[in-house]
Symmetry: C2
Subunit: 244 residues, 2 copies
Amino acid sequence: MNLSKSNIKLITSLQQKKYRQKYQLFVAEGVKVINELLASSLEVEQLFSTDESFKPLKNIEVTSISENELKKVSTLKSPNKVLGLFKIPKEKEIIQDSFMVALDGVNDPGNLGTIIRLCDWFGVTELVCSKNTVDCYNQKVVQSTMGSLTRVNITYVDLQEFLSNCKLPVFTADMEGKNVYSSSLPKKAVLVMGNEANGISSEIAKIVEHALTIPRFGDLQQTESLNVATATAILLSEFRRGLK
Amino acid sequence: MNLSKSNIKLITSLQQKKYRQKYQLFVAEGVKVINELLASSLEVEQLFSTDESFKPLKNIEVTSISENELKKVSTLKSPNKVLGLFKIPKEKEIIQDSFMVALDGVNDPGNLGTIIRLCDWFGVTELVCSKNTVDCYNQKVVQSTMGSLTRVNITYVDLQEFLSNCKLPVFTADMEGKNVYSSSLPKKAVLVMGNEANGISSEIAKIVEHALTIPRFGDLQQTESLNVATATAILLSEFRRGLK
């Protein structure tokens, strides 16, 4: 069998968010990532493989393609045997009854991927994103989160409206906030993290009730700021450390 | 003035570690990064700028070049006005009298950059790297660390020999270690972090005295591991939080 022209066109179009939204599909690559996604509740649309011996975890038909065909549609430097199209799942209800993370305009797919993995690690199942946060079905995000993408409920919302109506206390990171190490942190809260260059937007800043600071150490206090993903790591660890 | 052929050849050669070591030079780009480096004790070799109005922080001659010339030698997607050649500083003595970080085979320049920024933030001035750790004068590292590169003493050593002779207690991160949240951590120690895929090498594992675990939360405990940079963020925060 072959990779049809229409399939090539479809798969490459899915590198763009507008086509992912149009077709409600996204691409994942590599045996490990594909098997992680197949093990989840996600629905698979099509699987392509250069390796005839590839047996997916579930009993799904696999279309054989050549290495050259895979190269044409892959976004990886070293394409890895299998490529799959998966259906973007319907958004689920946001359960506002525990600790949540919210993102306000995070741009970089690598940062979003790291934050999704962190949420999964720390048992945070609700991740709420502003509409201008990078799409979680972006291929870089899909590849870097591995299976975590399927274990965290990621929802894109009007963040200002969401936080205004949210009953949990709203926290953020800020250079002028309270020392996180000496703050008593609630079990149930929303932690809002902002854009890489500009932090949280002024509208969201008005809603935030508590600002936390990760103190700087040393004499030469010149480091500008921590990267949003590393700051999220430290703050999540602080919110959760009392529970173990 | 123009960018000479020999300069083009020199600058592009510095993308490779062997030429950085041969010429003892590295490249930095962008007004902000260049000014951060000029403000440090680093010695500048040459500055090139597309912007005649660019005034470096120090009184140094600037060679005017065209945007096209900058494009030819830049490794950035959007070249940013200024490019500088700096001398790689002589390695300084490692001061083993406080908290240190050691890296055993960290490969990814983005991870090394993040860890250097974290060291700077947490006042860790000694970063010891195994010889097979990515070069800190790699351009991606230089660009991502901004000025932090000049405030952390980074030394490449035979890590096995170094740790064998080191008088500080040696810690690492490990899935089978002691819960970091309930461990009492010393002020002075070495924290060894390993390679992205393989962790620390077996030779180093023999020297490590204390293994720490960042506990996983949630019911679905399937996240494989934290990225080395985020794990370093959380562990550094744990070692330092008692001091503020």
